[in-house]
């Protein structure tokens, strides 16, 4: 192969889009390393602190699409203190210096400033797509910069970000010459947008396929927009809570009927049940439906809508749907692949209207189900065993029983056997979150059977260090392990230190790890950053002793070739 001209080698590599494959070929020899790195178009950085931005840009100067992830997953649940890190600035600055051909940037759980967005907008003449997920630190002024300067912008996708709203001006910053928009999602912007500016923008965007509005957009504006977008495939509605005005909703129905390509529907902020019949005309063509922001829809409203959705593959819904609603889903949505059932009340443990029965019904009716996120207030081993047998194709299984440490609702036993059945039957399982009363036995099952498992989330589970050690020993493909409020200490942490270099990261909070244990880990494994995060607050456990040593409140361990980071705040100690 080394006798082929480089252009031929490069052409062969173009058939290897997957990062893992490209990483592999670059290890073969120096020539291949060079050819690969100069032709690499997509780079994915799973942990922004695993490598320095300059090094990425130096190695891959011709990258077109860059993805970077920042904070650990538990940051979603406020377990990572603010100002911990995850800054986008260094990445955007490095890219602006070293790869001006950049076209797409994806960032998740990072802190992005308006200055960085402005730099981004002005540095990359071919920039086309900005996707920000669960980020913070910027305002609508930053969006205004993107709109103003990115002449070829095709995609602006803002998913669940904390955006400081400085007014509706930003939407008007798209110049009249901007006609390339294919995807616009501003559902997370809290304030008003200028309806006229929005309508004009849509009118001059013939390629628009995906449009997700925020809750300020009125039904009338939505109707007007839909009349202009017959090719729309994905819609996030605006406000559907207005006083029932028959004419408005009739116009909406007519407009929706025109959208023959519509496959995916979301939004429904506080939707009025009276709007539900408007959606009926498109239900039969939907493959994706997100009703998880509509706590105002009762089980009967939801089932009436869903009973029309025979092609549904992805459903996100609140637990108000209740078990009987899930039975309707099971009998209607035979192609269902992904289901998420979110809790609508967070602090009333024991009041979720969905139980194990709903999930059993779904598993019986929807054999293609592969991805599940299910919040409920009770579960049983028998149900989990049945579910595992009905749906052996799970790749993602996340079960959250709202009350921590709750046992089997019928037998009062731990749920070890139920989850054991899941990992035994679902050989392709890549992601697992467990909950309820669990002993070390469940970890024995996981270590023995979950051979494809890449991500495991543990909360309020286990009896001893042995639990965590089963997982560290048995799960050969484990990349991310996150644990909270479980009795795992130094012995578990240090049981298999070499494994951390094969993983992206480990998170442990409110466990029984001590600072001494962390020191030992840091000294044995110089290729890891061992971050001890100790905030001083009322719930601090600094004074509690475990063998006479202060316990570590939060621990974040990750492999890195960048060394200790220099942007860590005072409360983070890197050992």
């Amino acid at each position: 192969m080394t006798y082929f001209p480089e252009e031929v080698v490069e052409h062969i590599f173009s058939f290897l889009p997957a990062q893992r494959d490209r990483n592999a070929v670059s290890l073969v020899c120096k020539v291949w390393y060079e050819v690969e790195r100069l032709s690499r178009r997509h780079v994915f950085v799973g942990n922004c602190y695993a490598v320095r931005p300059d090094r990425v840009v130096l190695r891959f100067p011709n990258v077109r699409a860059l993805s970077v992830k920042g904070k650990p997953h538990f940051a979603d649940f406020n377990l990572v203190p603010p100002d911990w890190g995850g800054y986008a600035g260094p990445w955007i600055e490095a890219a602006a210096r070293g790869c001006v051909g950049l076209e797409e940037l994806r960032m998740k759980r990072m802190v992005v400033s308006d200055e960085s967005l402005e730099l981004l907008a002005k540095s990359f003449p071919r920039f086309r797509a900005l996707i920000l997920v669960s980020c913070e630190g910027f305002s609508t002024d930053g969006l205004a910069a993107i709109a103003s300067h990115c002449k070829l912008l095709r995609e602006l996708d803002l998913q669940e970000n904390e955006v400081d709203d400085r007014g509706p001006r930003w939407l008007s910053c798209f110049p009249d010459s901007c006609t390339s928009l294919a995807s616009l999602n501003f559902a997370c912007i809290k304030g008003e947008v200028n309806a006229g500016a929005l309508e004009r923008l849509v009118a001059r965007s013939p390629n628009l396929r995906s449009l997700r509005l925020n809750r300020s957009v009125s039904v009338d504006t939505l109707s007007k927009i839909l009349m202009r977008t017959p090719n729309l495939e994905d819609l996030g509605t605006g406000n559907l809570t207005e006083d029932f005005q028959t004419e408005s909703y009739q116009r909406l129905t007519v407009a929706l009927e025109k959208c023959k390509m519509l496959k995916s529907l979301s939004g429904f902020w506080d939707a009025s049940p009276l709007c539900v019949p408007c959606i009926y005309p498109v239900c039969a063509q939907l493959t994706g439906l997100n009703l998880s922001y509509a706590p105002t829809l009762e089980s009967s409203d939801l089932t009436k809508m869903i009973s029309h959705c025979v092609k549904l593959q992805r459903l996100w819904v609140l637990d108000c749907i209740a078990d009987k609603g899930l039975q309707v889903v099971a009998s209607t949505c035979k192609d269902l692949q992904e289901l998420r059932v979110f809790p609508s009340e967070f602090y009333i443990a024991g009041y979720s209207p969905v139980t194990e029965e709903g999930l059993v019904a779904i598993s019986a009716g929807c054999p293609k189900l592969s991805s599940l996120l299910y919040f409920c207030h009770q579960m049983t081993n028998a149900a989990l065993i049945t579910i595992a047998k009905n749906c052996p194709n799970f790749t993602r299984f996340r079960l959250c029983i709202l009350e921590p440490g709750k046992p089997d609702a019928m037998t009062n036993q731990p749920l070890d056997e139920g989850f054991g059945a899941i990992v035994r039957e679902c050989e392709g399982l890549r992601r697992l979150s467990i909950s309820g009363l669990l002993t070390d036995k469940v970890f024995m099952h996981i270590g023995r059977h979950a051979k494809q498992l890449e991500m495991l989330s543990i909360a309020f589970a286990g009896d001893s260090d042995a639990g965590m050690m089963h997982v560290m020993e048995g799960c050969k493909n484990l990349r991310k392990l996150e644990i909270r409020d479980s009795p795992f200490g130094d012995a578990a942490l240090l049981g298999n230190v070499a494994k951390y270099e094969t993983m992206r990261s480990l998170w442990m909070s409110s466990c029984t790890v001590t600072e001494k244990g962390c020191q030992v880990l840091a000294s044995k494994m110089p290729m890891l950053n061992v971050e001890v995060i100790n905030e001083v607050d009322e719930s601090s456990e600094m004074d509690e002793s475990h063998g006479g040593l202060p316990k570590v409140h939060k621990l974040y361990v990750y492999r890195t070739i960048a060394g200790p980071r220099d942007d860590a705040p005072d409360f983070v100690k890197i050992l």
């Binding site: 669940e160 904390e162 049940p273 967070f346 959250c400 440490g405």
Partner: protein, 202 residues
């Protein structure tokens, strides 16, 4: 939200066979039956909120940081909708009573009452509490509801005025639609209730 008295009495109740919970003073919606399952004995050293959560239903005190694992964005979005438009007070008039009362329609139909029928029952029970001491609720075969004053024998028909200004019979439409469209409620004497809007065809 319900407030419950000390549970220590239940320990002795198990021995004596008497269930003091039945006589405990509580503030809760009529007919609602909170979870009275006792949790397995809780370890006082255990920091988990299991015991607290199982013993006392709606109590915001048993909160663990970051639990349940729901993104802040979603929590905030649902909290925003919870705080907005979560009361709907309407005037209630009863023929023959000198003054009107107000009732919050949004207070009915929580998790313990997910059916329209149950919500309507709760509303009637609440009206009963407010106005007449000796009501019975009579549900006829065709699902019409009537309130009968056991003392005077007077029959009342519950009606409401909708957004179009028409007087409708309570109970025909799903609960949520009723809450949205109801402007005021009137308990009409049966003898006067002759010209109500006809019931929607099934």
């Amino acid at each position: 939200m319900s407030v419950e008295t000390e549970r220590s009495s239940t320990e002795s109740s198990a021995a004596s066979g008497l269930d003091f919970e039945d006589t405990a003073l509580t503030l809760r919606l009529p007919g609602s039956d909170p979870d009275r399952k006792r949790a397995s004995t809780s370890d006082p050293d255990c920091p988990s909120p299991t015991a607290a959560a199982a013993d006392s239903p709606p109590s915001p005190k048993a909160q663990v940081v970051g639990w349940p694992p729901v993104r802040a964005f979603r929590k905030n979005a649902l909290a925003a909708s919870a705080s907005s438009a979560r009361t709907k007070f309407v005037k209630v008039a009863v023929d023959g009573a000198p003054y009107l009362r107000k009732v919050d329609l949004a207070a009915f139909a929580g998790y313990t009452t997910t059916t329209s029928a149950a919500a309507y029952d709760q509303l009637l029970a609440a009206l009963q509490d407010k106005f007449i001491s000796h009501f019975t609720v009579r549900r006829l075969g065709n699902e019409e509801m009537k309130l009968v004053d056991a003392v005077s024998g007077t029959e009342y028909v519950p009606t409401y005025e909708d957004k179009d200004g028409d007087w409708m019979l309570l109970g025909d439409v799903p609960w949520r639609m009723f809450v949205e469209t109801c402007q005021r409620i009137r308990l009409m004497k049966s003898s006067e209730a002759v010209n109500l809007a006809p019931r929607a065809a099934r």
